[in-house]
Amino acid sequence: MSPLLIVVVLSIVIGLLMIVLFGYTSDQKAIGIAKDQLKAHLLAVRLYRDQLHVVMGSYGKVLRGTGRYLKLAFKPLLYVIIPITLMIVWLDRSLGLTAIQTNTPFLMTAHVDDPQALDNISIDLPPGIEASAPPVHISADNEVVWRLVATQEGTYDVKIAVAGQTVTKSVRVTTQLAQLSPERWRDHLWQRLFSSGESALPQNSAVESIVVDYPERNIPLGVAGYEMNWIWLFFILSMIAGFIFKELLGIKV
């Protein structure tokens, strides 16, 4: 299935689900009143534009009204923010990045705690992946960068040895849509949650993170050669779907 079609279908389904969820979990009457009040204060600025006290007062009321409105949107947001964030992260690993292609060089970067460890770091490449240049040590950043190239499609574990310990990083080589894990982290729960599909590196490892620079995927729109990151496309399409569904279902947002 093409990434464009997946994004379109997802946008419509999620647009519908989120609007329905918003409708059920929000105080629809209060949201309607809050929005109406905002509109009223905006209109007041226009109707009484020669009355400076009205203009300034209404502007203040717009700011306060916006705060009230966002507060009302907070409760439904609580219901949706965690599942949808996790879902977007999960989808981003497939739709946001392109897997490594055969015979196309890519970089793998390991970040260590101690710059001296860089002197003893080594890489063990599985069959199907080769180094296309000597590693580059960047002592100032505690990093070593390998330039690699894959000769065959597949899922590989690249081993990195340092200070007597070996850690691995998966590398996916394929032309198909695939779940990718661009980073592997030792700590940084937040980074692991958003950027990694692998388990954490061992706590006693000298390696803090390993990053494979999967290229970003832009989805061709099929119109005059335009491309777009999936998340923006999803944002636009789900908003359009949401707008249509909210009108159809009479849900105030």
Partner: protein, 719 residues
Amino acid sequence: MYKSSNSVGSKGIRTASLLLLLAVVLAPSTAHAYAGPGAGFAVLSSFWAIFVAFLYSFYALATWPVRQLFRFFRRRNAYGKAVFDRAVILGFDGMDPDLAERFMNEGRLPNLAKLRDRGTFNKLRTTFPAISPVAWSTFMTGVNPGKHNIYDFLACDRNHYLPFLSSAEIKGPKRQIKIGKYSIPFGKTEIKAMRKGTPFWHWLGKAGIFSSVIRVPVTFPPEKFQGVLLSGMCVPDLKGSQGTFCLCTTRAQGDKFREGGVRAPIDRKNGVYHAYVPGPDNPLAETAGHEMRVDYEIRPNVAEKTAKLKVGSEEFTLKVGEYSEWTPIEFKAGLGFNAHGICRFYLKEVSPEVEVYVTPVNIDPGHPDLPISHPVTYSIYLAKLYGAYATLGLAEDTWALNEHVLDDDAFLAQAYGNHEDREKMLFDALDKTRQGLCTCVFDTTDRIQHMFWRYLEEDHPAAREVPKSERKEVIQDLYQRMDKLIGRVMEKIDDDTLLMVISDHGFKSFARCMNLNAWLHQNGYLALKEGKTESGDWFEDVDWSKTRAYTMGLNGLYLNLKGREKQGTVDPSEAETLKAEIKEKLTGLKDPDSGAVGITGVFITGNVYRGPYSENAPDILVGYGAGYRASWDSVMGKVTEKIFEDNLKAWSGDHCIDPRLVPGVLFSSHKFTEEKPAIVDVAPTMLKLFGLPLPSHFDGKPWSLAPVAGKTPAPAPAT
């Protein structure tokens, strides 16, 4: 202590939650922060609102000095000579000076008494006739009816002997395109104002003085001027009528309502009751009479005396004797043509029968299909600020009470509901208009006195069966309520504001009806077709070839004049003699049953009106005596056998009588020296107080303020 710390704690949590939300939503570091279209709309809407408000405010602020400079020169003519920064005029339609004085003397109206003691209290001479659209038109234009063209609610089509609305003419688009079964109107609906003359707030606006004008009668269609205006009396409902209620009922269909309402059957299917709200005719239908309808469901709960109503996407539960909120109604004509209205539902009964009263479908102020304000956004602004409100000119459903569809309490709940909305609008206008004119007319005083005068009198025919113990002091409560309103207004104003409380006319009892058409018939001025002793409505069975005079409406009497009426019989050269003859016979006419004088004054309009529209006036105005008024049948052009009869309807007080008997009131916060003020003087007085010259066509004379120590009275106006 505990409560306090807990409150602080929960406030802290709320603040932290809000900050967290703002951090997540307003400052997304990655696109991951997007949490679906609901949140997306919330964020976008908020930013949009702030952005637009900022743009508006920035524009207003940036251009303010230029506009102020521009106005500075213009305002030197207005505020430079103005005696007050602001004038606030509260119109209490129909407030009666005698009742006001009585209640003040009883100590029931402390705020009005304050105005009387410190400023002015006087009777305010009204117009001929003393009818609201006439009097308020004179109030705003400062001229007699011959110059503003309003003589009654209804005017007479002399070609067809039929009435038409005197204040506005609404015509659909002239061209139509036929597509299949549809006939699509092409072009705009034309709304023509029939009231002529220029309201005084237009003169103020030209001088750079801002006005807020709320619900002054005969301001539909709204006209452009510098200020905001919400139209009042004479705004139609969505059907184009002056208010058509609907009684939805499972009862076998009864008699047709005389006027103002229709019955709609409720059908029962599978335990659910189905009814409909009748709407306007479908504008796409090839022929007239295809009424659009909105269906709704009723699910009664007999044990709890409630019913759940489902109207479109709105669902609500009502107790018996309870009104719904204003509910949006959308009539679908097809091809995307919709008419937007609002109405309220009142649950009358759930057992043994099911009955729901539906108010006339008002034009939706938040989505007006016809302009009801200037600018158009003003009605929308008020609807957004306070929620939907009644827009119909005669918003209090007097006919439903007359027809016993509503009882006293239901009518009062409706009337005071509208009144509360009006109060909110007034206080908003007071807050927004700190300089200039702020005027608001309240109809509650008129409607409630019309409908509850019967309880003021010992032996009113409409209340003979109601024991004294069950009679409520509705009118006294009404005056006290208005007094409290004045008290709240007085708290909002300072010495640089002039407060005036005026009414367009007073009130008297309406205990006896007089059918003037019957009198004309019995005195040989009006003829019926051979063998008929009565006519139908609108002169059905009248023999025009033998008729010399007829009446329709509340006070007007017309000659059947050759060359003017389609089947005129009276030669213009004989007209004055005939008018004098009728006047002589009618003046002092006695009611044979009581011996009281039924008609105290008859006025030939040629002597009363001056102006370019005098020819549209009735030929004679009939001034009924106190306790009398034109009968319901006579108003509708019907000839009956009896001339005098009791008025048994709840509509038991009236003012469409001899105007000398029903002056209005004038209260003001500052003392005027005028001894016999008239409503026609208000417009010139306002212009004078704002230091503007008076147009030469004004009929009213400006009042003068009594000198106050240390203050200079207003200079004499230029004309």
